[in-house]
């Protein structure tokens, strides 16, 4: 049997998408479409995203994301635990911005309880969040470049990301799921030598950033590859609920750190990076600039870290120090109550959001007055960003879809929850 031109085309697509691809053809009088199943185990889909694309030749006619492969019922699980225990679930949800999830959840619970956080805890939260943002963006940078075919950068960004994970390990003993930010403050103060480690990283980071820029940002092949694909206009991006760098790439200067400042972001100087065209390259540039701005915030924040406790002194929320348990009956009761029943927020509901690496990460908590959250809703930025994906990829070539997925920086744990 002779090989037709179409067979060659089909083979080319299969080769491009790698193993695990199902291809089906719809052929009738007025159309000749090929349906290609990308994922859920495809390396470029950053987890378990399944995308069904309808192709006319190599042009994407329609793309339909199918999600839910990572759904583990985190909200249901959180609704059966005390507030303090439910904190550990937040780490597991968007697993690349653990401390930001912790912060969003803690802010929502603190609002319910109406507790004040000491200044040192506020500042450390901010520092940890910016470090996390850098780590998250570095992972995005490495994998985005890897998707497109620039492999080298991955090793460079991984090296710096590892340094941040080392800091988290030094702080908590855990590299990713630290749960270090908790309602009321932080679980503990930073160990000796931690600031030195962070300071050293902050010193070398601009040089590393230059290195990435030299390697890739002005590379003509890279620029050509990313320009003018995956365009979404500002009004469409807002209508589709996009947030974070993906929205700012379209020119909307909305950053929760500026618009609704939390944990002391209003004390520091930084700029919001925005794009102009809303294409993949603009979103790339926005994130590169955010790395720079995060560094700028870190430099200012590390200058004068306030002293004092890192946990609120409200004994209805924070467990008493261990030494007090031996001498004070009150403390013993508080300790026992906190770790059996947990704290009791009043009846009411709150929503708190932070700017995570991917956008607006929010927690909506409905309290029925007991020690267990009655309803927790996790607002994941990736959920809405992914929803806009079909709008961006329709009309593009199949190979560009991979670049567009990389540019919206989705985390499937955040989408499926």
């Amino acid at each position: 049997m002779a090989t037709t031109e179409r067979d060659l085309k089909e083979r080319a697509i299969e080769a491009k998408l790698g193993a695990g691809v199902d291809v089906q053809r719809i052929q009738d009088e007025d159309r000749d479409l090929m349906i290609v199943n990308m994922g859920p185990q495809h390396p470029s889909t950053h987890g378990v995203l399944r995308l069904v694309v309808e192709l006319d030749g190599e042009n994407v006619q329609k793309a339909t994301p199918h999600i839910g492969y990572l759904h583990t019922g985190l909200e249901k699980t959180m609704e059966s635990m005390t507030y303090y225990k439910a904190l550990t679930i937040t780490d597991r949800e968007d697993y690349l911005s653990n401390l930001m999830n912790n912060l969003a959840y803690s802010l929502a619970v603190e609002k319910l309880l109406d507790v004040e956080v000491p200044p040192r805890a506020r500042r450390l939260r901010l520092i940890l969040n910016e470090l996390e943002r850098i780590a998250s963006h570095l992972l995005w940078l490495g994998t985005h470049a890897l998707d497109i075919g620039a492999m080298t950068l991955f090793f460079y960004t991984w090296r710096e990301r590892d340094a941040i994970l080392d800091m988290k390990e030094m702080l908590s003993g855990v590299r990713m799921m630290t749960s270090w930010i908790c309602p009321g403050g932080l679980r503990g103060d930073v160990p000796e030598g931690w600031f030195h480690k962070v300071g050293k990283f902050v010193d070398i980071f601009p040089k590393k950033l230059d290195e990435y820029n030299r390697l890739i940002s002005k590379n003509p092949i890279f620029v050509e590859r990313l320009s003018n694909i995956g365009i979404i206009k500002a009004e469409d991006a807002i209508a589709w609920g996009m947030s974070g760098p993906s929205l700012r790439g379209s020119g909307v200067a909305w950053d929760l750190r500026k618009s609704n400042p939390y944990t002391g972001y209003d004390e520091f100087e930084f700029d919001i990076a925005v794009g102009q065209n809303g294409d993949v390259y603009d979103r790339f540039l926005v994130r590169m600039e955010e790395l720079k701005q995060s560094h700028r915030i870190l430099v200012q924040a590390l200058r004068d870290v306030p002293g004092g406790p890192v946990m609120t002194s409200d004994r209805k929320v924070a467990p008493p120090p261990r030494a007090e348990l031996d001498t004070s009956m009150e403390s013993l009761i508080h300790h026992f109550k906190l770790f059996t029943e947990g704290y009791h927020p009043p009846i009411g509901e709150t929503y708190a959001a932070v700017e995570s690496g991917r956008g607006e990460k929010g927690y909506y908590i409905y309290s029925d007055g007991s020690g267990i959250p009655y309803r927790v809703k996790i607002k994941g930025p990736s959920f809405n960003n992914l929803q806009a994906l079909p709008k961006m990829v329709e009309g593009l070539m199949i190979a560009d879809v991979v670049a567009v997925i990389g540019s919206i920086d989705i985390v499937l744990g955040d989408i499926d929850r």
Binding site: I67, G68, H71, G73, E75, K76, T77, S80, T82, K111, L112, D114, I238, A239, W240, G241, V252, W254, S259, N260, E341, H344, P345, P346, I347, G348, E349, T350, Y351, A353, E360, G362, Y364, Y366, D368, G369, S370, G371, I372, Y374, R375, K377, K379, F383, N384, Q387, A388, D416, R417
Partner: protein, 200 residues
């Protein structure tokens, strides 16, 4: 339905902690129309549709009846003063286990709105009863409601009228039940082995 709680050997402390606990009372107050343009707007245009309004920790909540929800949403989006042009989140809460009166409906569909013009937030709630779990879709107002409403349909079994593509989104298509309802047991998922169903 199988009694999953017994089967999984879960203890009362895990599942009934909520019932045996002492509960803290409510601390919210009524929202005043003077400092809430949203309440003024809804009161002026949709008199009689407001069920209640609350102010709690600086967060505004307006609960409305469900029949005019699309018009209310549109008004809140298009008005110059409120300009809620961004649907931050859409979800639902099942009030089955909350102390409430008989007349109060079981579900509340919650719209967490945000304005990119004023940077304000508003929580709009629509009441949905158990007998008639339907509500109109707000897709025409905020397109990103599409997936969020599918999620509410999937998790709570609330049908959105005129929705363009109402399918399950997170659970498999052939799933039975709505996991986030309060009468759906925790751990209710049967562990699946390839050949544990007879005749398969």
């Amino acid at each position: 339905m199988v009694d999953f709680n017994v089967r999984l050997g879960l203890t009362p402390t895990d599942l009934e902690l909520r019932e045996i606990q002492t509960k803290r009372p409510a601390e919210f107050e009524a929202l005043s129309a003077d400092d809430s343009p949203e309440l003024r707007l809804v009161e002026a245009q949709f008199a009689g549709k407001i069920v209640s309004s609350r102010l709690f920790r600086g967060e505004k909540t307006i609960t409305v009846k469900k029949d005019k929800i699309v018009a209310i949403a549109k008004a809140l989006r298009d008005d110059q003063e409120t300009a809620y042009n961004y649907l931050s989140d859409l979800t639902c809460v099942d009030l089955l286990k909350v102390n409430k009166t008989e007349e109060e409906p079981r579900f509340e569909v919650i719209y967490n709105l945000y304005s990119l013009a004023t940077f304000e937030r508003l929580r709009l709630k629509a009441q949905v009863t158990e007998d008639d779990p339907t509500i109109d879709t707000v897709e025409s107002v905020w397109p990103n409601a599409n997936w969020n409403e599918r999620e509410v349909f999937d998790m709570f079994g609330i049908t959105f009228n005129n929705h363009s593509d109402l399918r399950r989104i997170l659970m498999p298509d052939d799933w039975v039940g709505n996991p986030l309802r309060k009468d759906y047991p925790l751990g209710g998922e049967e562990v699946e082995f390839t050949y544990n169903v007879r005749g398969r």
